[in-house]
Symmetry: C2
Subunit: 183 residues, 2 copies
Amino acid sequence: MARENHTRFALLGLLSHEDLSGYDIKKHVKGGLNNFWDIGYGQIYPELKKLETAGLVCCRPETSDSGAVKKKYSITDEGREELKIWLKSPVSGESFRFEILLKLYFSAQIPDSYSIDKLIEFSRRHEEKLSLYYKYEDSLKDILDNKDHIYRYLTLRLGIFMEKAFLEWAKEADGFLNNIKNN
Amino acid sequence: MARENHTRFALLGLLSHEDLSGYDIKKHVKGGLNNFWDIGYGQIYPELKKLETAGLVCCRPETSDSGAVKKKYSITDEGREELKIWLKSPVSGESFRFEILLKLYFSAQIPDSYSIDKLIEFSRRHEEKLSLYYKYEDSLKDILDNKDHIYRYLTLRLGIFMEKAFLEWAKEADGFLNNIKNN
DNA sequence: CAAACCATGTAACCAGTTACATGATTAA
DNA sequence: TTAATCATGTAACTGGTTACATGGTTTG
């Protein structure tokens, strides 16, 4: 995948919907984006400053009654323009890293039981993820009149397709390994 | 995913099968591993040196008749041990980055045609990948008596499951967007 | 009163990518 | 002879992770 500052656009995208603080952004990421694009605080705060310097967002510190400070960021017109240009540009590709595959690839050298255990753990983990996605889907299904929700729904659907594929694969692979064990 | 030097183990894994040069390793990666774990020369050569210093591999320069030098690396007993320990340890997880999803997530702000185009390109790309995987599968299917081949087959199968899921999703998503367009 | 959460940030580190540099060999 | 491939490497950069530091607020 091309080396482009994707975080920059993820932040602009989130801010194009509503004004958010760095902390808010992290929460929003957790509730959606993180399934295919996670971002940590270590990227969010510095990037927000860079965006401000570039004039793509502006910052408005909000001091509450108690004296606590919260920095709310808003997207500027220039920020909106940059975001749209990026959104329209073609995508460069996908990148995956599967530690389980890297291990399985060489696992002929160790007893099969280790691999079977890994497959079981893999299934458990992805069953959890799938049921979480189903919950998201349920809450989205009723509000598909909104265009934003339609697009979020589409991204969620890929998550569901993938998780199902993972589970099917793990089942097949587990059957395969158990079969050769009993020969 | 945990911050661990995976490249190190990928190299050890490849060298546990046969002696290879840095160049050979890259070719081997292209023919299998790269589907879920790509490695470039910028990582291979420095890492081989580190592995040599750590005593996990050893290097034997081969000078051909013409004077060309080729450095063949072999795994040592300590290297084999380290590899096995790592293979047996549990996996930490998967990481994906989908630029198409990052864009779709915010694409309510631009005309649907852009997203439809992206989905078409996505399908084309993954159809190609799937047919490539099917070719690999064909050549592996007949030699599953070998345990190494069984494990490679399993990793390939996940690739196939995933590519199929991608194509199904893209079809559904395309149908969805075309449907709302005509309303 | 302690734990959990809200909130903002910095510094260090490292994995991985890209570009650059060099030169030999082989096939069209 | 020229293009492709074989072959080995280095330097610079940057995206992303982790750990650390600080302090306010809410809730059980």
